[in-house]
C-alpha cells in the first residue's frame, strides 16, 4: 500500500468541494475512464475582478487523485485567474504534505484541469495556452507538457516522466520520443550550466559538475540496463569511476567507460580522462 500523509487521507475520506457548479463560468475536464483517472472542474468566476468565487470537482481515480482534486479547489478558491494560473503541480502536492513519486501525475492532472478551465473561460484553445503536440497517444500528453514537467520537477528519467504525466505508461511506443525530449531539455540546461563554470573551473566545481552529469546523463541509461556507475575520485584530470551491476560483467565495459569520457569531455572539459577502478579503460 502507498505511504500517504494524514492530510491526504483526510481529504480523501472527507473531500471538500465535491460536485458540479450549476451554470459554471468555466469547465475543465481532463483524463478519461480508460486511463483510470479523470477530473471535472467547474468554476464560478467574478467577471469584474476575475476572482474565483467557487470551485467544485468530480474525480474518478485513486485516493491521491481525489485528494489532489480537493486540494486544487481549496488552493484556487478566492484567487484571481491570474494568480491561480501560477499554481504548479508541486503546490498541490505540497498542500497534501507530499505525494508518493508514482502518484505525482495526480497533482499534474489537477494543474491540467485548471489550465483547461482557464482556457475555457478565456475562450481560447488549450493549445494556445500551453501549446505543443501530442506525444503519448495512450494518455494524450503533449511535448510542451512533458517539457514543462521535466523542467519544473527536474526529472531525469522516462520512468519519472511516466510517474508525473502517465506518458509512456501504456503501450510504451512513445518512450523513444520521451527520451529525446529529456535529452533536449537537459542538453539546454547542462550546456547552459557547463558553460558558466568553464570561465574558471575550480576543482570543487569540476567535481560537482562531473557528479551532476553522471547523475543526469549517464546513470539513468546504465540503470535502465541493470547497470550503474559510481564516481570514486577525481585526481587532477583523471576521473576514476566504478562500474556496478550488469556493467561489471559486460563485455562492453570498455566502451561504456569511453562513452562516459566522451560525454564528460564534451560537457566539462576536454582534458578529462576517465578510468574505471580495477583498471579497464
Amino acid at each position: 500500500m502507498w505511504e500517504y500523509t494524514e492530510k491526504l487521507k483526510e481529504l480523501f475520506l472527507n473531500p471538500k468541494n465535491v460536485g458540479e457548479i450549476e451554470n459554471p463560468d468555466a469547465v475543465g475536464e481532463v483524463g478519461n475512464i480508460v486511463c483510470g483517472d479523470a477530473l471535472k472542474l467547474t468554476l464560478k468566476i467574478d467577471k469584474e475582478t476575475g476572482k474565483i468565487l467557487d470551485a467544485k470537482f468530480q474525480t474518478f481515480g485513486c485516493a491521491s487523485a481525489i485528494a489532489s482534486s480537493s486540494a486544487l479547489t481549496e488552493l484556487i478558491k478566492g484567487k484571481t485567474i491570474d494568480e491561480a494560473i501560477k499554481i504548479k503541480n508541486q503546490d498541490i502536492a505540497e498542500y497534501l504534505g507530499g505525494l508518493p513519486p508514482e502518484k505525482m501525475h495526480c497533482s499534474v492532472m489537477g494543474r491540467e484541469a485548471l489550465e483547461v478551465a482557464i482556457a475555457d473561460y478565456k475562450g481560447i484553445k488549450i493549445e494556445e495556452l500551453i501549446g505543443g503536440k501530442v506525444i503519448c497517444k495512450c494518455f494524450d500528453v503533449t511535448d510542451e507538457k512533458i517539457k514543462k514537467v521535466i523542467r519544473e520537477n527536474r526529472l531525469t528519467t522516462v520512468e519519472q516522466v511516466t510517474n508525473y504525466t502517465k506518458a509512456g505508461g501504456g503501450c510504451g511506443s512513445c518512450i523513444p520520443d520521451i527520451e529525446n525530449i529529456l535529452k533536449e531539455v537537459w542538453a539546454e540546461r547542462i550546456i547552459e550550466e557547463a558553460i558558466r563554470p568553464k570561465e574558471r573551473l575550480t576543482n570543487i566545481k569540476k567535481i560537482a559538475l562531473i557528479q551532476e552529469i553522471l547523475e543526469r546523463e549517464i546513470r539513468p541509461r546504465l540503470q535502465a540496463d541493470g547497470g550503474d556507475v559510481e564516481l570514486i575520485d577525481v585526481d587532477g584530470n583523471r576521473v576514476i569511476v566504478a562500474l556496478r551491476g550488469m556493467c561489471t560483467e559486460c563485455v562492453m565495459a570498455n566502451v561504456t567507460v569511453k562513452n562516459i569520457e566522451k560525454k564528460l569531455k564534451e560537457l566539462v572539459t576536454e582534458d578529462l580522462m576517465v578510468v574505471s577502478e580495477g583498471g579497464q579503460g
Binding site: W2, F12, I33, G36, T59, F60, G61, A63, E102, K166
Partner: protein, 397 residues
C-alpha cells in the same frame, strides 16, 4: 476496530497450532539438523516428519519434497532446472496470467535468448487447450502453468493440460501456490513433474515454500551450497518454518471440507449480496471452475484503490488488481489478458476468504461496500452519467 481480513490470497494468518508447534525451535531446539551431535542431529527427524506432512497433503512421497524459501523460489527453481537439464531445448510455454514469479522469470529468460510462448486466456480466464497443444514442440524444455489463478481464483484443467504435455514427453510444472490446501491436489493422479507450494498461503509463516519434484526426473539445483535437501537446495534448513509448514499442511487436510463448504458458502453469499446491492457490478472469471474462497469483482466507474482505502477505514482488508496498488500504472495483467473492459478493470476488487472468516465479516462487508461504492460514484464524473446513458436516460454523443 475489528479487522475483517479478506485478503487471504495475499497472505494468511499463521494458525495458532502452527505458532505453538514452531516456538520450541526458536528457543530450546535451536541446533543445526546437519550437525553430528545429538542436540542438532535430533532435529533431522522432525524435519523429515514435517516433510511427510507436506508430502501427504499432495499425495507425494517423502523424497519428492524439497523445502525452499518461498513459492517464488520454487517456481524459479522448477523452470531453471528444466532449462539447465535440457540445455539444447530453448523454448518455454506458460500463460499470460501467471503470477509474477513465473511470468517475470520467463520474461527474464526471454531476454537471455530463450523463446517463450505466453498462452492467452478467454474472457472468463480459461485456457484454450488447442493452443497449448500447438505450442508445445520438440524444442520445449518445460511447460509451466498455474493450478489456480491468484487474482480470479479460476482453476485450470490440470488433468487435461498434463495429458497434452506428457503425451509430448515434455516436463510440466504447476504453480499450485493458491490451490494447495484449498482444493484437493493429488500428484498420484495428476502427472505433473514439479509443483510449487507456499507456506504463508496456508496459515504457515512467510519465508517457507516447497517444491515437489517427481522421482526420476532430471533436476538441477537453483541454490547451490551444502548437501542439505539431498543436494537439491543448499542453505541451512529453516527449521522452525519447516515445522510450521508441516503442521499447516496437516491442518489444511483437516479443514479442506470446511474450505469447500462453509468458506465457499460465505464467499457465495458475499458475492451474491454485493451483486444484488451494487448496480454495475460483475464477477470476473469462470465462476464454475473457481477456488472456493476467492471472488474478483468489478464495480464500474469507480477506482479500485479508492474502494480499498475506504474499506480500510472500516477495518476491511481486501486487494485490488487495479493500477494503483501494484505500484505501476499498468492495470492487472490477468484482467487485461481476459479482455475485461477498462471501465471494469480499474474498479476491480479481490476478496479472498479463509477458515477464519465468519458470517459477521460477510455481514459487515455487505453493509459497508454499497455505501463506499455509492459515495465514490457520487464523487466520480462518470457514475451517474454513464449509468444513465446505459439505461437510456441520457443521450450519447
Amino acid at each position: 476496530m475489528r479487522v475483517i481480513y479478506l485478503d487471504n490470497n495475499a497472505s494468511t494468518r499463521v494458525a495458532d497450532e502452527v505458532v505453538e508447534a514452531m516456538l520450541p525451535y526458536f528457543s530450546n531446539l535451536y541446533g543445526n539438523p546437519s550437525s553430528m551431535h545429538v542436540f542438532g542431529g535430533q532435529l533431522h527427524k522432525r524435519v523429515e516428519d514435517a516433510r511427510a506432512e507436506v508430502a501427504r497433503l499432495i499425495g507425494a512421497e517423502l523424497e519428492e519434497i524439497v523445502f525452499t524459501g518461498c513459492g517464488t523460489e520454487s517456481d524459479n527453481t522448477a523452470i531453471m532446472s528444466a532449462l539447465e537439464s535440457y540445455p539444447r531445448k530453448r523454448h518455454i510455454v506458460t500463460t499470460r496470467v501467471e503470477h509474477p514469479a513465473v511470468l517475470n522469470f520467463c520474461k527474464a529468460m526471454a531476454r537471455k535468448g530463450y523463446r517463450v510462448t505466453f498462452l492467452p486466456v478467454d474472457k472468463l480466464g480459461r485456457l484454450d487447450l488447442k493452443e497449448l497443444d500447438a505450442a508445445v514442440t520438440e524444442d520445449t524444455a518445460i511447460v509451466s502453468i498455474m493450478y489456480a489463478n491468484n487474482e480470479t481464483g479460476v482453476i485450470f484443467p490440470m488433468e487435461e493440460i498434463a495429458r497434452i504435455v506428457k503425451s509430448k514427453g515434455v516436463l510440466l510444472h504447476t504453480d499450485a501456490v493458491q490451490a494447495v490446501g484449498k482444493i484437493p491436489v493429488d500428484v498420484r493422479k495428476l502427472p505433473v513433474d514439479m509443483l510449487s507450494l507456499s507456506g504463508h498461503k496456508i496459515h504457515a509463516p512467510k519465508g517457507i515454500g516447497a517444491l515437489f519434484i517427481r522421482r526420476g526426473i532430471r533436476f538441477s539445483p537453483f541454490i547451490i551450497g551444502g548437501h542439505q535437501e539431498k543436494g537439491r537446495r543448499g542453505g541451512t534448513e529453516n527449521v522452525p518454518s519447516i515445522i510450521g509448514i508441516g503442521v499447516a499442511c496437516e491442518l489444511a487436510a483437516k479443514h479442506m471440507n470446511d474450505e469447500n463448504s462453509r468458506v465457499k458458502a460465505l464467499r457465495d453469499r458475499l458475492e451474491e449480496g454485493l451483486l444484488a446491492c451494487c448496480p454495475n457490478a460483475m464477477v470476473n472469471g469462470d465462476s464454475e471452475h473457481r477456488l472456493p474462497n476467492t471472488t474478483n469483482m468489478s464495480f464500474e466507474y469507480v477506482e479500485g484503490e479508492a474502494i480499498l482505502l475506504r474499506l480500510d477505514s472500516y477495518g476491511i482488508c481486501a486487494s485490488s488488481g487495479s493500477a494503483c496498488t501494484s505500484g505501476s500504472l499498468e492495470p492487472s495483467h490477468v484482467l487485461r489478458a481476459m479482455g475485461i473492459p477498462f471501465t471494469a478493470i480499474h474498479g476491480s476488487v479481490r476478496l479472498s476468504l479463509s477458515r477464519y472468516n465468519t458470517d459477521e465479516d460477510v455481514d459487515l462487508v455487505l453493509k459497508k461496500m454499497p455505501e463506499v461504492i455509492k459515495e465514490l460514484r457520487h464523487l466520480s464524473p462518470f457514475g451517474r452519467e454513464e449509468m444513465a446513458r446505459k439505461t437510456g436516460k441520457l443521450r450519447t454523443n
